[in-house]
Every structure is written in C-alpha cells, then in structure tokens.
C-alpha cells in the first residue's frame, strides 16, 4: 500500500518536474528540473525496493545534471530565459506525438494482463544477486558495456577536442 503511494507520489513528482523542464525558458531551471525529475525516478526505484539501482540513479543523475547545467549555460542563447523567446518548434506535431505515445503506453499498461505479481523480495539479496548476475551470466554484456563506455569516452573526447592546425 505504502509502496503504491510512494511510488505514485514520486512518480507524480517525476512527471511534474519533467514537464517543468520543457515549460520553463530558463536553462538553469530546466537543468535543475531535470535533475529533480531523475531524482524522483531514483526515489521511485527505492520505493520499489531496488536499492542499488535507486542509489545509482540518484548519484549518477545528480552528477550528470550538474554537468549538463554547465553545458547549457555554455551553449544556450538565452540561458537565463529572460529573453522571452519561444524556443519550440513543430508544436502541434510534437504535442500530438507526445499525447499519442503516452496514451499508447498507458493503454498497454492498463489493458495488458501482466500475470501474477511477485511477492516480497529480500532486501539483502539484491546486491548479491546482481553481482552474481553480472559476474556469471551477464559478464559478456558487462564487458561489452565497458568497452562501449571506453569507446564513447574516446569518441566524445575526439569530437570535443579543438582541431589542431586549423585555427
């Protein structure tokens, strides 16, 4: 019961903050809203008894959003949002698509028979289970993910580096 409530609350928070992200014209505020949305999602994880993931989410998202804020300020035309410019386009199409997508997912959520709900989970088992999962079954995935991360880091760096000799 409680779980439902908290999940719901945190869910609403996430949704609200996500909306704010796009409604506000200030960049910093968008970044911060996103941060709070992601945090709410992490809280939801926690509410759903996935501690590890919840913590992970929180920590990661916090860092990410901070960096994002910096980037936003760097690159945006109107970081403060005081210019009053309309920074959206294809409004109608995006609205429609968003609505449709959301509705479709809702329909799926409501109308699909999900089957039996699982019972309790033992809290102390999660991390252990996840670690075993990583090390045994999904080792390849993890390794691949590691390599992919490396590649991405290199790629991002490569992209971001100033070109030499062509200043």
């Amino acid at each position: 019961m409680l779980q439902t409530v908290f999940t719901g609350l945190f869910g609403l928070a996430a949704i609200w903050f996500a909306v704010v992200v796009f409604r506000t014209s200030s960049m910093v505020r968008s970044a911060l809203a996103l941060l709070f949305s992601q945090a709410a999602i992490g809280a939801m994880f926690l509410a759903m008894q996935t501690e590890f993931l919840g913590v992970l989410q929180l920590t990661m998202m916090a860092t990410e959003m901070a960096i994002m804020a910096i980037f936003m300020v760097m690159y945006m035309m109107d970081p403060g949002g005081l210019g009053g410019m309309d920074m959206t386009h294809q409004k109608r199409a995006s609205q429609v698509s968003g609505a449709l997508g959301g509705l479709a997912a809702l329909a799926v959520a409501f109308f699909v028979g999900w089957g039996p709900i699982a019972a309790e989970v033992r809290p102390g088992e999660q991390v252990r289970g996840l670690g075993l999962e990583i090390m045994e079954r999904s080792m390849l995935i993890f390794e691949t993910a590691g390599v992919t991360i490396l590649t991405a880091m290199i790629a991002a760096t490569a992209i971001a580096i100033k070109r030499r000799g062509k200043e």
Binding site: V21, M48, L53, L56, H89, S94, G98, A160
Partner: protein, 102 residues
Amino acid sequence: MTTLIVALAVGAILFGVGLYGALSQTNLVMIMMGVEVILGGALVNLVAFWRFLHPEAYSGQMFVLIVMTVMALDMAVGFGVATGRFRARGSIEMEEARDLKG
C-alpha cells in the same frame, strides 16, 4: 498490481512528456534532456517489471544498469557533438542545422 499499474502509468506519462520535449525543442541540449526523460520512463517501467513480475531474475536489473550506462554515454557523446557544433557554427540551435538537408 496496483503499484505496478501506477508505475507503468508513470512510465507512460514520462515517455509522452519526454517525446513531446524531444520533438518540440530547438536546442540540442534540450532535445537531449527530452531523451533523458524518455529513458527515465523506460527505466521506471523496467524496474517495475523486474520488481513485480520477475524479481528472481536479476537480468532485469542488469538491463536497468545498461540503460543507465547508455543514458550517460549518450549524454557524453551528445555534449561532445554539441561542442563541436558550437565550435563550428557558433550555436547549437537545431533549426539552423540543415547541413544534411537532402
């Protein structure tokens, strides 16, 4: 069940909002933020599914892990691209990014 439905609903709405945002924003960073929101909704769904349908299979959590990683990676690369774009053009407004127009 209820919790599941709630979670899924939240995930759905997040998806919708994130889709709206990705499509309607002119700025690259904002688009990326929309994508983040979408992925967040996906995460919520994933966790809900793991928790309420197959809590014994930790591959669900693994999935979440990967998605989180992907989120991070895509932000990183995206920002690298934004940097490069900013350097090249002076702005990252997607309205002006017609270079690949066919």
